[in-house]
Amino acid sequence: MTRALALLRRAGRYAWDNPSAEQDARRILSSLRLGAVLGLVTLLVLVAAGLALLWLPEEDRVLRRVVVEVGVGPYLTLVALGTLTLCLALVVPIHASGLLEGPRWRGYLDQLVTTGMSPARYFLGKWATSQPYFLALIAATLPFVALFGLLGGLSLGRTALSYALLWLWANLLLVATLGLGVVLHEVIALALVLLLAAGALAVDLTPAPSAFAGWTPLRYLAQPLVAAASGTDAAELERLYGDARLLGATLPGPAWSVLRWALVGAAAAITCLVGPLHAFVPGLNGFGAVVLQGDARRAFFRRMRPFVTRRVDLAFLFENRGPRLVRLTLPLRAAAQLLVVAVAAAGAVGFVFHPDLLRGIRWLDPILAFDMVGCSLVLSLTLFLLRGGRAEAALAWRVGGRDVPLLVVDAAVLALVCGGLVALHTGAVLTAWPDLGGLVRTGRTSGLTHPEAFLYATTASLDVLVGSAVVGFLVLKAAGARVLGGGAALLVTSVWLTVQAALPAIPYALGSGFSRAPDSVTRAFAGPLLAIGLASPAAALEAVSDVATERGGGGDLLLAHWLWQGAFAWVFGAYAWAGHRERRAEALALEALRRGAQGPHPACPACGGPRARVAWTWWGGAVGTALVGLARCLDCGRVARAADPAAGWTRAAALAFAARAALGVTLAGAALSWALGLGGAS
């Protein structure tokens, strides 16, 4: 007991005894500022209640029916609490932002960094001082709630739960703003949180199923009003606004909301703990001074790097997080990514296969479309979270004396996301099976005439999306190992995915047309054109549709698509792996020099600089390059044999290129002979 108390006291001191708490206690809790915010909230509640009453008189208004049904007291109470929800959505993100940017803009972040202050403590101080602030904001509505209670307000339990939800939601907004502010610029994070909050409030007011909605307390607050407003559709609306139905289970609305808030909050808190991913490689290892090789020739671009400078500055702050957290950065980051994706996936899949929603739809096409859009968004979110630049490619997680590279950790995250998404999706489809069975009987435009066909269409389409996500991930990592920032890698990946989806659609359309031509010569071109076209996931989805509707030929076409994806995965996978190996080798070579040890290879014969292994070249790929055995100087960039820098390597490179070309021609020939038979399959 005494120990627990001591621990609690220590935790309290940790939270309260720090600079952000000092500053907040002085500034935010000062009577003037707090008074202004409280006055504003009070005024807004008064105005909202006044407007709500002014809106009542007309006989035909739905609102009047609601008030008659639930009573004036509960109605006004809910208006007051709803107004508070909106106020919190605006005030809290603004209150939370500026914790990192303030000291940066004002030029004293370096002084904070050198105090050795842990970022966790800094953020915890903000959280601790925010609690009385939130309580003050919430308490501002208490007189109104008490006043409206005299007119027969809400039940005590509902009022207490509403306040608890409001307090938790304020905390979610706070933690989300802080967490996003770590990985993005705080101005962008603030705008994003305000935008997301606005979106969540809008969704909560629409009749979206609670499995998808319920991101704000508004959904719970609106429940009594919806039941009264719905008239003839009362049961239907009650189902939508009521408990969340997910994978056959029913969860109370507030519990489902709090569970998701907790998961998102945990992900944001982890981000606040571990900070942005960063490796202190030359050029990105000075506070406020990012100068990379070649910058003298491109001064314009150097000036355009405030975001990179910010990331480096924050990396210095997050060095203070302590050795244990430093060791656990990669797994904790992976956990945060999985939490965010899990919440998004549950919402998206749960939304699409919600039984009540299915009952409201007459045929399957929109379900399939929503399903694919939802899954694409989840996979895109995953790729966004896994982005990273050249410096981070050198990072590794040390487990039991072995290094697990970042590429492997991220691949594991992607595997878990893809596997989890397929499992969640399958579970959702199966639990919605009875409703789907009823739907397909009215199936119309897609030609999906039985439940099994829909099951095949939806799961095979998801497989195509997952295949694209895997190739996209490898492109992301291949580019990430070579470009400065994760944003650039993401741009390259987006371009690739767009080109892969759109460009082969032209030969695919031509091939489809040629396959129906009367003459055999034209039909002979159809196979290769279709084979080229099937590099596109869009064409593959078309093939899935052919299989599902038993139009025939889709099986072979899908195989062509998977062969393409396999080839892309092979090429980009090797390129990504080699890129990460090169970055890691460079980091280890510099680390050896730092420890005063010899580098892994003899020094550069031209400048004496350290050298690191080359893992990929255009002429030898990964295998040929490894067989020749080359190393690159980190200073002058000269490439020479790893073991003996004086030895020549032109002949070996030519041989490797010849072998590579021969293999390529053989594989292309085999693919062409197979593709010629595809014309009849379409």
């Binding site: 105090t115 050795g116 202050m117 420890r595």
Partner: protein
């Protein structure tokens, strides 16, 4: 306790094509007050930032307070006091609040923090200004506030970047006194400055950096003695009553080792090949001259600096 507080071994720092620090190896002993000097762009700020853990060496090993500056950064920072060249634009804070803010950041418990703030305010003589705004102070006051901030968590190593920059003579003298006092209290101090006279007054050791290289490093008296030993001609300044100047000059010029002697507004000067001034002093006394002052115009830090650096920009 003795030993190296900062130990740099073949440290390099590069900004694209510019090599800012080129293989510097240096030890800074516990309790020493080291002045880091060099022309503009020599690489001293780059080196200072590495010692302040705000920059990583591209190559080479750097140990600060016995720990690796790459891996044990948080532990180093808790025992390090860094004074940047500029205060930054602090939000509206009084001097006391500012010190308490950074004390809290450094993890000084609230109760102890108040005492520490009071102590450092006394040390830098700012007790009377403790309730005025930080932003309202003059440059000298701000420098003192920065020094107080650096001390509030009682660090072992102080890294001070240009503490006397932009100060008037009185403020410079005051800052000098504070640094002396801190060194007496056992703090290890690394200070960079362009004002050689100040550094000569307070530092016991200097490191001269030029073109990113460590030109020379050692105790000031050893460096000046070394320069002195290499001199072939030694210059002395002699003060005698005005009425006896000509007699003194005659007596000195009569000595065989004296190569030159003259009069100027400060008195007499003489150049001699002998390493000591004893023969000249004896000759003056024998001639009945009243010697008010007899000092060697010895090599100073300025001479060490000028001899060690070439002033070119690469």
């Amino acid at each position: 306790m003795s030993g190296a507080v900062v130990e740099a071994r073949d440290v390099w720092k590069r900004y694209d094509t510019t090599v800012a620090v080129r293989g510097i190896s240096m030890r800074i002993e516990r309790g020493s007050l080291l002045g880091l000097i060099g022309p503009n762009g020599a690489g001293k700020t780059s080196f200072m930032k590495m010692v302040a853990t705000l920059s990583k060496p591209d190559r080479g090993a750097l140990r600060i307070l016995g720990r690796d500056a790459h891996t044990a950064v948080a532990a180093i920072r808790r025992r390090l006091g860094y004074m940047p060249a500029e205060l930054g634009r602090m939000p509206d804070m009084t001097v006391r609040e500012y010190l308490s803010y950074f004390g809290a950041a450094a993890g000084v418990p609230r109760v102890e923090r108040e005492r520490r703030v009071r102590d450092v305010l006394e040390l830098v003589d700012l007790v009377e200004r403790q309730d005025s705004l930080v932003s309202a102070g003059s440059t000298g006051i701000k420098q003192r506030i920065l020094i107080a901030k650096t001390l509030v968590h009682d660090p072992d190593l102080l890294v001070l970047d240009e503490p006397a920059a932009g100060l008037d003579p009185r403020a410079r003298i005051e800052i000098r006194e504070i640094l002396r006092e801190l060194n007496r209290l056992g703090k290890t101090i690394v200070v960079s400055s362009h004002i050689l006279a100040d550094l000569e007054e307070i530092c016991d050791a200097v490191a001269i950096i030029e073109h990113g290289e460590l030109v020379t490093h050692g105790r000031i008296d050893e460096l000046t003695d070394g320069l002195r030993a290499r001199r072939e001609v030694h210059t002395w300044r002699v003060r005698v009553p005005p009425a006896e100047r000509e007699r003194a000059q005659e007596a000195l010029l009569a000595l065989p080792e004296v190569t030159g002697c003259g009069l100027d507004e400060e008195g007499l000067w003489l150049e001699t090949g002998a390493p000591t001034g004893n023969p000249a002093l004896r000759a003056l006394l024998d001639a009945g001259v009243t010697v008010l002052r007899f000092v060697e115009q010895g090599p100073r830090l300025e001479d060490v600096f000028m001899r060690g650096t070439d002033g070119t920009i690469r």
